[in-house]
């Protein structure tokens, strides 16, 4: 069975934000909610790097661990999904997530946030695949169509890789061997454990 992972090849990311736009458009994510974002480290300084980041679909997901209503589940492919019918919008997953993935439509007084929204690895949610309910709550389900996440598909420089962890790690390893330099499988240790 595949273990789905994201990998951002930082030497290739040119900060074009196509992944962000593709995600927003594909899933019709509302304003202020960003399932994926590009963070630039040392902007304008030596060593500047742009990194595309979303939910990393962790092995021992902190969001799932702290959820008071236990609304998270992991698919057989390792994709971390959640049930918006159970979510109470407490904000705990946002405190716990290392990658800042959980998003909410509101941020108002008395802790009113609305249901949490995050990257689904384009795998929808617990609703019937391709149903209206799934589309409105979680966005499209490309995984059910046999396709990979759109952000990675759209990436012009193929910096963002999505798919089976072994396969994308192999692609990345070959690149590093060809171009030299040190590998940097960004965020993998935090997401998938010390042995990755």
């Amino acid at each position: 069975m595949a273990r789905m992972k994201f990998l951002c090849d930082v030497e290739r990311c040119i900060e074009c934000h196509a992944c962000v736009t593709a995600c927003k458009n594909e899933h019709e994510v509302p304003w202020g909610v960003n399932r994926r974002r590009v963070i630039v480290m040392d902007d304008g300084q030596p060593g500047e790097k742009a990194i595309s980041v979303a939910c990393m679909h962790c092995s021992d997901a902190p969001c799932a661990a702290v959820c008071p209503v236990d609304c998270f589940y992991q698919t057989a492919d390792g994709i971390v999904l959640h049930d918006k019918d159970l979510c109470i919008g407490c904000g705990y997953c946002f405190y716990a997530c290392p990658f800042g993935a959980p998003q909410y439509p509101q941020q108002t007084a008395f802790g009113v946030r609305g249901k949490m929204d995050k990257c689904t690895f384009c795998a929808g949610g617990p609703e019937e695949p391709h149903s209206e309910a799934e589309l409105t709550k979680y966005g499209t389900n490309r995984i059910a169509e046999g396709k990979l996440p759109l952000c990675a598909e759209m990436c012009a420089t193929k910096a963002l890789l999505a798919g089976d962890g072994d396969v994308i790690a192999n692609i990345y390893r070959k690149r590093v061997m060809r171009r030299g330099g040190r590998p940097q499988s960004w965020g993998w240790q935090a997401a998938y454990g010390q042995n990755v």
Partner: protein, 369 residues
């Protein structure tokens, strides 16, 4: 003339020589003054390998791992510019633990509440109810005003509501999901969280009013120390002197209401109003203090509730009717009772059972003489 000419020429030549030497010397020294300035600014200069900056790429990855913020063009209330937020991992371990490592928050909080209940049960089984010695005298003196009682019961009822809803969010996943099912518990948790978030601020305001109202009667005095030394006579060993509030009640006020109460209220506001832009680390820390202090407070509250109802005969009516029996007042708050009499407060007969005539001023004087 020739002599003087000679000396003038010699002098000129010497002056030229010295100025040349001075120019050469200064030409070498002056540029190096820059080193002195640099040394004065940043200490002795180390030339060579060590003065090089560290690798920018390595620095960048270290920053990424250590929660150093970058910049992002995406905007939204929950969109952060931090790649890896390490405070979240720490918070997760404290609140929920991980496989094989139980949560310290749940374990500490759960045990302290259970131990408090167990200690009260043992105390009740061994010592029983603290009865009014020699029975009631049938006369009452005023203890708490209507304002104080309303405030007390408002705080008490909201405390219980907040306690139940708050504990449901912390322990519900373990305790209530097996009972209610995932869907049933989620529906309840949604209501519980909303109630908790909206009742909380009202509780906070009432708590602050209560702290201010009862500050005067809670000033610690030497007599309270004596009360605490004998545990108020609760374990036998005679009665300890006490003012309107005894040493134990003052401890409950300062540790429970003021200390833990303010901690819970302040952290509660930080959590309840995310619209002020506080970051995740602040809110995670506030959550740990909020839940930890609240559970410790609940453990103390069990003691307070026991003392006020089952534990001490004649105590509850002070907070319900506002008046207490004189026998109770003499037994538990002798200094306060003496002070009341000094102030000219006259004990009145206890309210007759419902339907009877209300006590009038005449009947009071009649019974006390």
């Amino acid at each position: 003339m020739t002599f003087s000419d000679k000396t003038v020429a010699k002098r000129r030549w010497r002056a030229m020589l010295y100025s040349l030497l001075a120019i050469i010397a200064l030409a070498m020294i002056l540029p190096s003054l820059g080193y002195v300035a640099a040394w004065a600014q940043s200490g002795p200069m180390v030339i060579g390998y060590e003065s090089r900056d560290s690798n920018p790429r390595a620095d960048m990855w270290r920053d990424a791992r250590q929660s150093v913020a970058g910049t992002t063009d995406q905007s939204g209330p929950y969109t952060t510019n931090v790649l890896i937020n390490n405070s979240g991992e720490i918070w997760r371990e404290i609140r929920s633990g991980r496989e094989g490592v139980p949560s310290p928050l749940k374990r500490f909080g759960g045990w302290i509440m259970l131990l408090s209940l167990a200690a009260i049960a043992v105390f009740f089984a061994v010592f029983g109810r603290n009865k009014i010695e020699g029975g009631r005298e049938g006369l009452t003196v005023p203890r708490w005003t209507m304002y104080e009682r309303v405030l007390h019961w408002f705080v008490a009822i909201t405390f219980i509501v907040l306690g139940i809803t708050g504990l449901s969010l912390l322990f519900g996943r373990t305790v209530l999901i097996p009972v209610l099912g995932a869907r049933g518990f989620a529906a309840y948790a949604q209501v519980a969280m909303t109630v908790h978030n909206f009742v909380g601020p009202a509780f906070g305001v009432a708590l602050v009013l209560m702290i201010i109202s009862w500050l005067g009667v809670n000033i610690p005095k030497r007599v309270d120390l004596e009360w605490l030394k004998t545990f108020g006579g609760y374990f036998g060993g005679g009665h300890a002197p006490s003012e309107k509030l005894n040493g134990g009640e003052k401890l409950w006020y300062w540790i429970g209401v003021v200390g833990l109460g303010l901690a819970v209220v302040i952290t509660g506001f930080i959590l309840d109003f995310p619209n002020f832009g506080q970051d995740r680390a602040t809110m995670a820390l506030a959550h740990v203090i909020h839940a930890g202090a609240a559970m410790f407070w609940i453990a103390l509250f069990f003691g307070h509730a026991y003392m006020g109802t089952l534990g001490t005969e004649g105590a509850l009516e002070g907070m319900t009717t506002g008046r207490v029996d004189t026998a109770w007042a003499k037994q538990h708050h002798n200094l306060w009772y003496a002070q009341l009499l000094e102030q000219g407060v006259k004990p009145m007969p206890a309210e007759p059972p419902r339907g009877g005539p209300p006590p009038s001023a005449k009947s009071v004087t009649g019974s006390s003489t």
